[in-house]
Symmetry: C2
Subunit: 278 residues, 2 copies
Amino acid sequence: MNPKLINSIEEMSTIRRQLKGKIGFIPTMGFLHEGHLSLVSAAEKQSDIVIVSIFVNPTQFNVNEDLSNYPRNIERDIELLSNMKVNYIFFPTDEQMYPEGFKTWVNVDKITQVLCGISRPTHFRGVTTIVAKLMNIIDPDLMFMGEKDFQQLVVLKQMVKDLNFRTKIVGCSIVREEDGLALSSRNKYLTNEGRKKALCLNKSLLLAQKLFSEDIRSSNKIISQMTILIEDNEGIIDYIEVIDQESLEHISELKSGCRIALAIIVENTRLIDNIKII
Amino acid sequence: MNPKLINSIEEMSTIRRQLKGKIGFIPTMGFLHEGHLSLVSAAEKQSDIVIVSIFVNPTQFNVNEDLSNYPRNIERDIELLSNMKVNYIFFPTDEQMYPEGFKTWVNVDKITQVLCGISRPTHFRGVTTIVAKLMNIIDPDLMFMGEKDFQQLVVLKQMVKDLNFRTKIVGCSIVREEDGLALSSRNKYLTNEGRKKALCLNKSLLLAQKLFSEDIRSSNKIISQMTILIEDNEGIIDYIEVIDQESLEHISELKSGCRIALAIIVENTRLIDNIKII
């Protein structure tokens, strides 16, 4: 089907008010890959109407980050979505979303100040603010998000709960290449060689699961083994953390149901991944 | 009519989704007076369904402020609202609105850091957060607020605009006693003598308007005259400011359409008032 393209907030709001049925929403920054498309598939199954937003949100990039050369390809995105049951694509301009004089921010405390929040101090404030805006414009019943950005998922669930948004957030599994690399728009930055090195993220997480299965429980021991594997592949570690899935607090002894999250720099590109220990 | 009393967020949300027509909403902290009732009257005229919330919001009080002895009289509030066309009274508990682990805040920059924001640094963060929550629960078409809390009105309009809430905020004129004292739940704290002294707020604002009509334009000159009048009445000045109505920025020369806002302490009670210069 051909999704209707909407680039004005007012038009989106007006159309939304005329829609009936369950609305499934997928917020994206475009440059879509199979990870995004898996979210669209989930939305198709659980909703009557599917809305995808494409907006490279400037406020979630830190000043030294890759906003200007963040990959974009709106024509290809539209084509990909046209092959699925997407009813509307919302792609507003920066000027509409952040008009002159904009000065309101949604902040989630504590859980935004760990993990990725340490090297990206204003990132989550940008994420929560743009998602609050999009939820107010689109008023979805369900919002679909990937577990690759695990901290983002936890932060947004906290925001939805605390601010009483009626939207339910549905977390969806990480989609990986056959060799295990988690899909990410940033993978595009990697050379062929970097692409191979980047496998260390998933490999180290699988190693952790293996060690856990062999009854090793110490977070420190497991992180040490992961560190060796990653550094052998020339990955530079931003963080590796064993965490509680809800509080994101550090856990010193692994247990079933906890999560290991990491951020690794490969060829100047910062990649993230995580695993739920079972 | 007898308004239906609702004290659960879930019940309020469920009922809301079944309502049709234009919803008018008045958020209050209870201990209602004619100022609040004038907002209800405005809502009656402009809406199909009127919802009033009563919630003494702890997060908008600073630590040294009067939360614990803030005046409350829910029975009287219900009685007053029963004499009007109010459909629902929403009065949730603190535990529901701020459950354990609550950690999300809405912040409006700049315009919350002037005027009342100087002596009440976390006040507006509490106001914007609770109103965001209430708007998400009640999803009103119109929200009615008094101009007495002028900075609050400007801050909330900014939040609604920036975060794309669909609600329209309707500002309503200040309601005054016959002698000019602006109605406030805090007037209850005043002795008979303090009540008389407190007239200096409105009198000094009327003096400013009179001086403007006599072609005096200098903010400093006008504030000096106001200061004399207030100090003669034993009022302690927190601030007197001539401001732009939208940016809340200081203006050095009065002009038609600007506003003068002040906060004065009378008998340990901090009272605010303002006037639009015409």
